[in-house]
Amino acid sequence: MIPTHRAQINRITADARIDTSRAINFFFNGKRYQGYLGDTLASALLANGVNVVGRSFKYSRPRGIVSHGAEEPNAIVQINTGKLTIPNLKATQVELYEGLKANSVNGWPNVEFDLMSIFGWFRRMMPPGFYYKTFMSPAKFWMVYERFIRKAAGLGRSPMQFDPDSYDKLNQHTDILVVGAGPSGMLAAREAARTGARVIIVDEQNEFGGSLLASTQTIDGIKASSWVKNLMAELTKNKNVLMLPRSTAFGFYDHNFVAVIERRTDHLGDSASGLCRERIHRVRAKQVILATGALERPLVFAHNDIPGVMLASSVSNYLIRYGVAPGNRLLLFTTNDNAYQTAIDWYQSGREVVAIVDSRRNLSGAMYEAARKLGIEVKSGHAVIEAEGGKRVCSARVASLSRQGNKIDGLVEKLDCDLIACSGGWSPTIHLSSHTGSKPVWNESISGFVSGSSREDLLLVGACNGEYSLTGCLANGAEIGCRAAESIGYQISAIETPRFQVDELEELPQQTIFLVPHDKGISRAPSSFVDMQLDVTADSIEIAVREGFESIEHIKRYTALGFGTDQGKLSNVNGIGILAQMLGKSISEIGTTVFRPAYTPTTFGAIAGRDVGALFDPERLTAIHRWHEENGAKFEDVGQWKRPWFYPRASESMEEAVHRECIAVRNGVGILDASTLGKIDIKGPDAAEFLSRVYTNSFLTLARGKCRYGVMLKEDGMIFDDGVCACLGPNHYLMFTTTGGAAQVLAWLELWRQTEWPELRVYCTSVTDHWGTVTLSGPDSRRVLEAVCAGIDLDNDSFPFMEWRDAIIAGVDARIFRISFTGELSFEINMPAHHARHIWEALMDSGEPYDITPYGTETMHVLRAEKGFMIVGQDTDGSMTPYDMGLGWVVNKSKEFSFLGKRSLDRSHMLRKDRKQFIGLKTIEGSKMLPEGGQLIFDPEEQIPMSMQGHVTSSYYSPSFGHPIALGVIKGGFSRMGQIVYCPQPNGEIISAEIVNSVFYDGDGARQNV
């Protein structure tokens, strides 16, 4: 057993939101530590005095925890190992559980001893724009560079095995979605829910309360934490309210559609295996209330990245919420009153406050007085210009600052401390409103970007709207909650808007400082870090400006500012401010980069949800599918359908099975499941006219009981679908479509029926699923059918080719069509799908004396190719007219109304003699197979690039002929019968073939007409 590494030296016993009676063991970079239930990985590491949690991206500088939430740039960890590993989590967001294993993603070979930092030249090697300048040429070397950079920078490792976890999605509908369960969000939710509206409230943290979880304030005389508890109880009781903790709204999309990811099991560790790990809530809300709060802005000064420099609010959070004091001697550096609370909290925890360094002069006001009253030294008009230390801050260089805050105007003194809490003000968390396309607007009075107008129905409330006082947030939340409900039709009761008694000190205006000056100039001073995750320094922004960049979007890409997994949550505003300062422009002129989803990284597993494995794509099965499975069929995907491909016996290969099946159909009888064919029932007084307009031929004269082959064209005159259509009765037709074309054909018919020809009285209904279809084909098929068929004569005189009859087969009502796709005598039997297997099995029984052979799509393809029947989509490609395919006989140009595509057929290009035309191909060297897709040329001696004259569309070995046959299209093919064409192969071989008629088998149709 690995001994616990260190005691929790920074854990203070306080009234914190952790359970000190439940110790939790965890591992960080291989060392064993202990924390408590309720800790995050970050709070537990700080409790254990772990200073260095990672190494920086470019310069490999030691880095410590800066913040306490999604904004964390440094504490990026890889959790677990093997197939359960998760890269790039922020330690500030990882809840502690027993046995948790975490490793820094940065740092090679490890964070304490870092090989890279030895190389002093490394920083010089990677100036801004480094990637563009160094790695972009030669382009093919990027793969080599990338490996090196990833390893050195440490971007986390993806799991290489199958993810054993399960993820799902819920579609949620609500009147009001509240994002953020801080004081304003919770109140908004309560007030909205009181009107009867359906409310969903989500928060990314493990518990609701937001800033109140780390507050020492009282509301209406009770402690903030108790106030939260009471409100929680009220929300829980209301069944209109769905509360989702550990749930991040990561994307705000059109029409008030918000994606929320709920982390359901990560905090439970291994004990939760088998449950859904993460669930995406696809929330559609009538109103969205954003109560996402604000992020504190760090101050940019020299060596501000040394472990021990933290956000002021984060210091308070660790202290009050987690009972962790991340140091001993605090120096607070602030530009505003708000951060004074951190010094007061620290003082009250019994630890030393070295001083408050405030950039503002002539301080006064309640916060200032409160600090002074505690005896805390306040250095007004001063700044921390540099932090000193190696793996931990040991002192700060402090100097007097000019009134504008842009120059040092006094001597530098050194103050010993091990923790610098800093606050440069706050930035409203407006990411989600920005997702909707709303442009952030700079607000001078709060020194931050606020949301501009949005096209979505969203309301901002509390700190994310620039309201930073607790009193204001509570009142704002209550008001917006009511207003949101009212705007979607809920009645607000006459109850007065609640008022709150909050013990809150008034705050005076802040000063805005984006870059703290140093006694040396910006380029000679030690680095001041703007973006810690990607090591973007203030001087690299200066270099970019010197090189001529002005747009913030260009600066971002040139320096990588805000490109990390934290998306610049702490760095963007400072970067923009520094750029504005350097260009001598206002921040409004510079503008901001755009925030895009996801707010925080989201797992691929969650995005995939349940659409994995067998559920990835629906498999459509016929009613006879189980029989095929039980009888060893191999299946082929045709669209979403599974169709039997061939039925191998014992040790048969595919070729052998197909050969056997082909011969059986030609000489005996075969049986095919054709249920997947599209079937559309068409009824109405104008049905025949309608069909005559969508098919190239006429259906006005088709009598009941008869079938006709038809071809459908798009407006461009190109073949779109084909099939047989039968007249079932007066004004009643059944249209067969190809398997893959069924849905498009129905949509096509509806398009014309509804939008162009509404005067035609006709209805179309899909009956594809209703009818099972079984095809008997071969010279023995009549005998097989006769044995089980009652009610009709099957002989050729009473039931000729291209007609249909009602019949009773094996006791079931069925409909028989004499149509053939093989060229043999065929009966296509339709029956309600409930009885499809019954009839199939009856036919298998009655066919036994004839060795009836089930055949699949492969055999069907071979047989139809022998017969020269095209397959739409295989032999055609959307550029073939019926004339090109030798189907001129099916085009009736004398129809009164015309038909779809007719006009296009007369365009000059369509009449060219050298259009590609459908022909058969017979290889000269009898045993050679032409590959499908092979290009055909006339002159094998031609220089490359050769002029391509056509291509092979279908190619099979024909068991009926004992040699390969192929179909193809070739320029002017109809007038080239008997000519030789060539098909060059990738290996240099050239296959020569003779152009022949596309009908190889039974040209006069004698065999299907018997």
Binding site: R610, L615, L621, A623, K683, D769, G772, G811, P832, H835
Partner: protein, 231 residues
């Protein structure tokens, strides 16, 4: 005993409903029970029961045409639901559904009936002297009743469909709400029943996918797929 249109009764006729191969399957939440002998449905908070094979007729007609609208109500003894997203039904003896008529679109309805399809079709066609279309689609779809713990059913529906069933008013014995919507990556006609359960109408060729999806979506609660109640 089977009721089916266009079919002569015959004892050895095999009739397979779309979900026939899934009857008596279950997926259980492992934390609920590991007892393989536990009876089906006993530890399932959700039960999906395929209903009897019935006659399913697709009706097309003009909702403005009194010949069609009045004719339907005279022949079927129930009025045509004209309001979008509603269905009407008649409960017969033993509180079994006798027939239901669902609104599918402005000119399209679905009739599910325990009468023989052939007779119904003929009766409707001969009586309604209007431009109508009556199409037997009985073989192409099946009705599945989803019952059990309401919270669990709601979650299963939320996993499966983008539709907001939460805004539906409760159904009565004479009808309720219905919607054709997505179900996983296929579609379903979903309707609510007076007993709090839901009926799902799914297409035959997608029935296997539907069943796999349902077993997966209900796994956290324990779910069983059963055949019709013996009559």
């Amino acid at each position: 005993m089977m009721v089916m249109g266009r079919v002569k009764m015959c004892n050895d006729i095999k009739t397979e409903s779309p979900l026939a191969y899934f009857h008596d399957t279950a997926s259980r939440n492992s934390s609920v029970s590991t007892d393989k002998n536990a009876s089906l449905g006993a530890d399932s908070r959700v039960v999906a029961r395929e209903q009897y094979i019935c006659s399913h007729l697709n009706l097309r007609g003009d909702a403005q045409d009194p010949v069609f609208v009045e004719g339907i109500s005279k022949i079927l003894g129930m009025s045509l639901p004209i309001k979008p997203g509603h269905y009407h039904c008649v409960i017969g003896e033993n509180s079994l559904m006798k027939q239901s008529l669902y609104w599918l679109g402005p000119d399209e309805w679905l009739l599910i009936s325990r009468q023989l399809a052939e007779g119904l079709c003929t009766n409707l066609r001969e009586t309604l002297d209007a431009h109508i279309s009556i199409t037997d689609v009985s073989g192409g779809q099946t009705l599945v009743n989803l019952s059990g713990d309401n919270e669990a059913i709601q979650i299963v529906l939320k996993k499966s469909s983008v539709y907001d069933f939460g805004v539906w008013e409760s159904a009565s014995e004479s009808g309720g709400r219905c919607a054709q919507t997505t179900f996983g990556k296929t579609s379903a006609l979903v309707s609510n029943k007076s007993n709090g359960s839901y009926d799902l109408l799914v297409r035959r060729s997608f029935a296997d996918y539907f069943a796999l999806w349902l077993l997966d979506a209900g796994r956290e609660f324990g779910i069983s797929i059963l055949g019709p109640h013996p009559e």
